[in-house]
Amino acid sequence: MAREIVAAIGTGQTEFKRHHSDKTYVELAQSATKTALEDAGLHPDEIEAVVFSMAPTQFAGVNDIDRWAIEHVWGAGKPFMRVHTGGATGGSAFHAGYFHVASGQYRTVLVVGADRVAETPDAQHVLNLIWDKFYEQDFALNTVTMTALAAQRYMHRYGITEEQFARVVVRARHNANGNPFAHLKGDISVEDVMASQRVAYPFKRHDICPRSSGAAAVVLANLETASQKCTSPVFINGVGAIAHSVFMGDRLGFWSDTEFADHDGCILAARHAYRQAGITDPVREFDVAEIYDPFSSFQFPQLESLGFCGRGRAAEISDRGGWDMDGVVAVNPSGGTLCTNPIGVTGLVRHIDAVLQIMGRAGQNQVSRASKAVATAIGGSTQFFTVSVLGSDHVGIGRGA
């Protein structure tokens, strides 16, 4: 149990799309901030600290671009820091904001970020630069080929087919129809996914997320402020994170502590978060899972690592509709990362979509009586995992109660 109870009391997002030709980077960040502050009923002066969520700035072409945005998010003169853990950045930034409040140092924190991934002609060229200059960059290694290797291994271990991955895409695109902020929408079929251009086996074009631009923000507060400002605060009842080795080869085989294909670093992060939140039976306790899935192969191993089903079972449950809006657990009712991936804030968007579900404000995508949700983010060489447990009630009493 944390020293102080922490709640999300307001959220803001822009529309996500390939280009925002009408707004600069800092204006995007400001737009999401303004919406979140209005949603929380707070004046900018009432925000005590700011955490900025931004992954590699090479996509947008301005180093440490958060510094440019400080005045635009009303952060000038305040405690301000940027968090960056690759694709996990939004989850880590959410956690950093949580620690600002849970530590008792601040009562209100704005967590905000923006990204313009499509500013660079080829994001995968930038992402090739995450690899070792001497050993790996020449191998055409990027996040697509990296993930394809893990997906092949997962398929081999559990007998999963490309069509089963394709059904994840079909569900995501369908769910995104009801999300006003989603980038890719529109119903497609398994056949459409299978017929799309091959990129790296087993991935076709539709198995892969888009390059999105946009911004997201959330206001976190201690219990006293949350009680004053929000009729339906969403409590952060558990947070966990794990860093793994960058080397994929060290994460498989007899000598490895974990299994690369299973995303089982996620187990360790979830175990820590669940312990804080008192979660013992995830599939019965969670109503919603907003998980980080930039590729169609990400959902199954992650759901298994989060304890929703046994290893190798998630695809079969998916085939039966178990992860649909009206399934055993609604997985990514927002459409998830497969439909929207502004890398620097993607994890934050996952958390915001989970918060909106628990607040009962998810619109067409609302899951009936949603009261507990789990949100994740993943970064690096599928090596950084964050897990957050959110709920309509808080666990423990904290010192602020």
């Binding site: 405690p79 530590s103 992402l127 060489s381 950084f384």
Partner: protein
């Protein structure tokens, strides 16, 4: 704040550490900090990294460096502002009582980082980049602004450099460079008026690591004596625009100190036995001195600050190690006798856009 320093380490500084890759520097320093704290890696539950992709020359550089930093299968997070900002985040993680014991790890291989190129690319593309703003020019604008604000005498910058090198020459953990003559400083080339090359602290390679523990963790281990308690933290980041008020107002610097003072229960700088300042240039040193009225001049940067060693991104965290050495009575030749409370300052961004302060007390 019930957060304690169990141990720490800095990497030996050099103009260029050519015999180690960055991950070896980070591993060796993290290993040394664990040893200093008498901890094994199994005992830590988290790591907070402060690093900068652009200075590391690699996107998501923590992918490679998190494991050498001790974060393999541990809760890890990275902030990108400065090493001392990492200490603030790490301390809040411990103070939350969700995590108990962890490392704060930061580094800077300045010899490999084209700092001016990195800073130039920090310019937004519409105004400051086309006019060619960089670190030297922004520091020079700062120097002009604070010179006008505080009325520095003609000799003061050179004298400040000499004083800094005199202190640094006594610091066994620094580069121990020879103390220059004023004439050497005043004949060094201008890099941007009024800033001369010798007014600036030379960049070095280096790394710093802290081992932090919660009060509740220590309460279960009464035999362990921490080096220091983190009494207060404060940090502020000013706006991006380099207007006169932003450059000369010293508002972020003063507010960061005031915030830390308030949290530490300190009434002002006069109550600090040591203040290790991140004075990247002589003008910064002079402006900081003027902005800390009541501070004992002997308390200011006894280590020599960045003029002793200057791994740019983590210079503030190196200052924090010096502050902790002071309150634990281990600062050696630069020890301030009887030091019980010390502050460390770090800065980051164009013309000290960000200021960070940590106050340590003898437990």
């Amino acid at each position: 704040m019930e957060v304690y320093v169990l141990g720490m380490a800095t990497h030996s500084p050099a103009d260029c550490i050519a015999d180690k890759r960055l991950e070896e520097m980070v591993f060796d320093t993290a290993r040394a900090a664990l040893d200093d704290a008498h901890l094994t890696r199994d005992e830590i539950d988290h790591v907070t990294i402060a690093g900068c992709d652009e200075f590391d020359g690699r996107s998501i550089s923590s992918m490679l460096l998190s494991a050498p930093a001790g974060a393999y299968l541990r809760d890890e997070i990275k902030c990108t502002d400065s090493g001392l900002t990492g200490l603030c985040l790490g301390a809040m993680r411990v103070a939350s009582e969700i995590l108990d014991i962890g490392l704060v790890v930061s580094w800077s291989k300045s010899s490999k980082a084209p700092v001016e190129d990195v800073m130039r690319m920090r310019c937004e593309p519409f105004f400051t980049r086309p006019i060619g703003l960089n670190m030297a020019i922004s520091d020079a604008l700062f120097a002009q602004a604070v010179s006008a604000e505080f009325g520095f005498g003609n000799d003061e910058p050179s004298e400040a450099v000499v004083r800094a090198y005199q202190r640094a020459s006594q610091n066994p953990r620094g580069m121990q460079r020879p103390v220059p003559e004023r004439s050497d400083i005043e004949s060094s080339p201008f890099i941007a008026t009024p800033l001369r090359r010798a007014h600036c602290a030379p960049l070095t390679d280096g790394a710093a690591v802290f081992a932090l523990a919660s009060g509740r963790w220590l309460a279960r281990r009464p035999h362990i004596e921490p080096l220091a308690r983190i009494a207060g933290l404060g940090w502020r980041t000013a706006g991006y625009s380099l207007g006169r008020e932003r450059l000369a107002g010293m508002t972020g610097f003063r507010d960061a100190f005031q915030d830390a003072f308030g949290k530490a229960g300190v009434s002002g700088p006069g109550q600090l036995d040591v203040i290790e300042l991140d004075s990247q240039t002589a003008y910064h040193a002079l402006a900081f001195e003027r902005s800390l009225p009541g501070a004992n001049p002997q308390a200011l940067s006894p280590s020599g600050g960045p003029f002793a060693q200057n791994p740019y991104f983590c210079a503030g965290l190196v200052n924090a190690t010096e502050a902790v050495l002071q309150v634990s009575g281990q600062a050696g030749p630069v020890q301030v006798q009887g030091a019980r409370r010390a502050a460390a300052h770090g800065m980051h961004g164009f013309a000290q856009q960000g200021n960070v302060v940590a106050i340590f007390e003898r437990p």
